[in-house]
Amino acid sequence: MTKYIIKRLLIAIPVLIGITIFDFLLMNLAPGSPLDLMRNPMVSDMALELKAESLGLNQPIYLQYLQWMQELLHGNLGFSMITYQPVSSLIATHIGPTILLMGVSLLLGLFIAVPLGVLSATKRYSKVDYTAVTASFLSISIPSFFLALFLIYIFTVRLNWLPSSGMVTMGGEGGFLDVIQHMILPVTVLTVAVAGRNIRYVRSSMLEILEQDYLRTAKAKGVKKFFIINKHAMRNALIPIITVIGMEIPVVFGGAVIIEQIFSWPGMGLLTMSSILSRDYPTIMGLNLVAAIIVLTANLVTDIAYSVVNPEIKLQ
């Protein structure tokens, strides 16, 4: 197992380097150079050249990459071209709300998906099963932004119960309850998606386990059904759920970009959209990089956790 963990870590290193190269190349492919934004009749060519030099834009691309990497290793992600703030501090102020939103939705989604999936599997082909499976299909077929608009229409516009934008009330006292109120709608949208994607996953994982011989043995021994399901079967059925968390993170991240935009949630998604609209390349690069590293780390951690709880996993 230690061997597996070491191998897994070693694989992650080239991927990490690949991510930085990919991220860097992607931004260099962009046709609009950052200088274009400054280009206007009032700015002389000389000034543009000086600016290009100060930004290092006239060097060969691999040197630019190495320079960028060197700065990166010192924690410097560059400076926003719009606000001139360091990108790292921009991300630092926006990452909290995103993690809050994602974390709560992911947990809530799994808290709904696991019991429903287990119930659905143990009562296979019953009404409960059909309802749960159909609901999960429905929830993965609704575009998240449409659900968001629908919820805003009902709960904000019609009923006026919940706020639909921001994280705290403008000019209000703020506080814990205020944030919770603002979280309800976006979290609901993301939770529905997470739960929908995973109900069937838990169900099929549980169904697979229920057919195992050791459960037949337990049943033959006269173990009560409740214990068979909740103690013997569930433990093993939940192992694959660990990998689900790893797979969900990039998806929820992507979902958060759209949801944050709709609900003006001050997280990385909102920052991504605004920096894409203003072609703020250093910020886009930094955001992408941080997001990819979070995903990579999450995958690494879930893979290792999986190998720890499931001794069947060996070097492959």
């Binding site: 690949g18 990919f22 993965i140 575009p143 608009l149 629908f150 516009v157 990039p250 886009i284 990819a292």
Partner: protein
């Protein structure tokens, strides 16, 4: 007693039917396979509904010019009128007929869904076949590239690329295609790894078949079922992604109607509150399309 008799009769009838159909199809293994496939598929009532609904949507999309009551891009009525007799779903802010736009929009959505999946599948299948069959460093490199692409949150990556190459229908299809191949590549690779140790592949190798032939005529046909299932859900995702991107303004651009960019207007509060006919029809059209495709995919999983 009566009940059991009834059951018996029923059971007999069923077995009779079965033996009849078996006799009919004796010697036609392929047909028999397709019959069991249809039987298994039609057991999923929702999937049968899905085929029906998707069929209607496909017909609407293909024959859009014949079916749409108005030109989708022309002003044909008052600004932002509620549904009435001449405009069944009402008109949008600049007087275009919503029903016609929904019909043409589903055409675009389906086009994006199918063609981007096709691009993704071609890339994914080729890389997956090569990676799984040859193994070694080729496999290592291809899989690490797959890991790299998959590390970037999907929507974020698409948004960034869309902002670089610019929005638009064709770009949208290409971007979605070039971003969704890693899933297919991993799937195909896994299947190839399982298949390549089989005896018939060994036999093909011993007979000295060319690599192309082994990969494309021996291995690929045996991985088609999982690929087909993957593709069905992939099309559903692609349609949702197109909708999301067009909604954010990075996808299909006005005046071309897509189901996503029709929803774009709903970001404004007045549209959201007082003109639900602007955003409910395209939204429901997306849900129906994607739901049908997902139900069909689920039934395929069982039947194939």
């Amino acid at each position: 007693m009566k009940v059991s008799q009834n059951n018996k009769i029923k059971g007999q009838r069923i077995t009779e039917n079965k033996s009849e159909s078996n006799n009919d199809l004796k010697g036609l293994r392929k047909n028999q396979y397709s019959v069991t496939f249809l039987q298994k598929f039609s057991r999923h009532k929702l999937a049968v509904c899905g085929v029906f609904v998707l069929g209607i949507i496909l017909i609407c999309a293909i024959f859009a010019p014949l079916l749409a009551p108005y030109d989708p891009n022309e002003m044909v009525g008052a600004f932002g009128n509620a549904p009435d007799g001449s405009h069944l779903f009402g008109t949008d802010q600049i007087g275009r007929d919503i029903l016609s736009r929904v019909i043409y929009g589903s055409r675009i959505s389906l086009l994006v869904g199918f063609s981007s999946m096709a691009i993704g599948l071609v890339i994914g299948i080729l890389l997956g076949l090569v990676s799984g069959y040859f193994g070694g460093w080729i496999d290592m490199v291809i899989m690490r590239v797959t890991d790299i692409v998959m590390s970037f949150p999907y929507i974020m990556l698409i948004l960034v690329v869309a902002s670089i190459v610019g929005p638009g229908l064709l770009n949208m299809i290409v971007i979605l295609g070039f971003v969704n191949w890693p899933g297919a590549a991993r799937l195909v690779r896994g299947n190839v790894l399982a298949i390549k140790e089989k005896d018939y592949i060994k036999a093909a190798q011993v007979q000295g078949f060319r690599i192309n032939r082994i990969l494309l005529s021996e291995i690929l046909p045996n991985t088609l079922a999982p690929i087909l299932i993957y593709a069905t859900s992939g099309i559903a995702w692609a349609i949702l992604d197109e909708a999301a991107l067009s909604f954010l303004g990075f996808g299909v651009q006005q005046p071309t109607a897509s189901l996503g960019n029709m929803l774009n207007g709903a970001q404004s509060l007045t549209v959201l509150t007082s003109q639900p006919w602007l955003w409910l029809p395209p939204g429901i059209a997306i849900i129906l399309t994607v739901l049908s495709i997902n139900f069909i995919g689920d039934a395929l999983r069982d039947a194939l």
